[in-house]
Symmetry: C2
Subunit: 217 residues, 2 copies
Amino acid sequence: MSWSKDDKQGPRGYHHGNLKEALVRAALELIAQKGPAGFTFAEAARWAGVSPAAPYRHFRDRDELLASVALRGFNQFETALSRAWDDGRPELFVAFDRLGKAYLDFARNEPAYYSAMFEAGISLASNPELREAGDRAFAVLRAAAEKICARASGQTKPPTLMVALHIWAISHGIASLFGRGDAARRTLPMSPEDLLEAQMLIYLRGLGVPDVKSAAG
Amino acid sequence: MSWSKDDKQGPRGYHHGNLKEALVRAALELIAQKGPAGFTFAEAARWAGVSPAAPYRHFRDRDELLASVALRGFNQFETALSRAWDDGRPELFVAFDRLGKAYLDFARNEPAYYSAMFEAGISLASNPELREAGDRAFAVLRAAAEKICARASGQTKPPTLMVALHIWAISHGIASLFGRGDAARRTLPMSPEDLLEAQMLIYLRGLGVPDVKSAAG
DNA sequence: TGTACATCAGTGAACGCGCGTTCACTGATGTAC
DNA sequence: TGTACATCAGTGAACGCGCGTTCACTGATGTAC
């Protein structure tokens, strides 16, 4: 589908009304088709049904548009993760399992967002807003890590931050290598979901978090 | 440094002598500077000190050159990994630790190769040679997983393939998120090496592989 | 050792194309009074 | 409610540029005899 003016009923008139939004969506669609490298400023404008000069009213250049896509991606990512986690309800391991699957779902169903967020090479150092959005998404993993750590049986609790980073790395590793929704996916004799679940269980056991059989099924 | 004809002493004459090699190196350098999207066929030719038509004698198009870079990357990756692993000598955990660090080293020191191999969006399905090179690198991780699994104390040994994939995912996750050598790296309050080592130890404990204190230091 | 010839691996000029970007402009919208 | 005006968000024409690609060509290399 297209987000150009023709989608809305009737002529759009001189002003687009929501061009910034339309350009982000156009970029997203083009990334999905051809990768983060595969879209141009002019093409996004054409897709939005607007002259090639129009995007300059909203974005300095292509990179700013790309960053905008990534920003929106992180926001949606955060929403998806926190909805899945749901503060650990109704039960820690059930919610934790959902969280991992939500990560994989996002990578598979939103490959355009995912590559803009993680593979487009946008510098985080020069883009604080983007980094903060990433941090907010990470905060969901951190909240989960906190509850996990509280369950650890050892005398010294594992550090929350470390566990959160481990969870992130595991999910990201499996999603990037085996769970992506594009042509670069590696095929496997098992589903990414099963692989991730098994890995998480082994990791939790190693942390000293008591097994919950119902979560393994 | 440049790999154009001027590097070699004396004029190169009509024939370059090793243009294919020079083009791969040029592409690699340009990827390092500007990401996998940031190089063109013409630019690689210019870098190699050759007319824009010359590359067509060696590569059908830009994608074939990019795939060639990735292929070479996987070969070097395999070499680095198997050298680090060294068949598990002198001791399993020492070698395993080296293997993980070699993975991180490669991602950090060869960001151009790394992104060509994992993030350039090259389709593995349509490039069997590349997939095989990737499989050969993965075989090193698989060999390590085999020895790890043999040490597992439980009644049923964990499946080697699964463990190998887990090792890959952990390493790749940490390398991609925190260990990259370019601007997209996320900063951390700990080194990627420490983070990876801690995660591997937790994972091995979860697998039921007896702890080796000397490997934790 | 020399010569003739085939093949290889480059040249350089040319082309059409789409991109990024600027510019003066103009239609639409919002607001003060 | 109407009018004047400022501001906003688009147009469309234009430009220079570098890219991808083709082409007839040519210099260098290898080989048969």
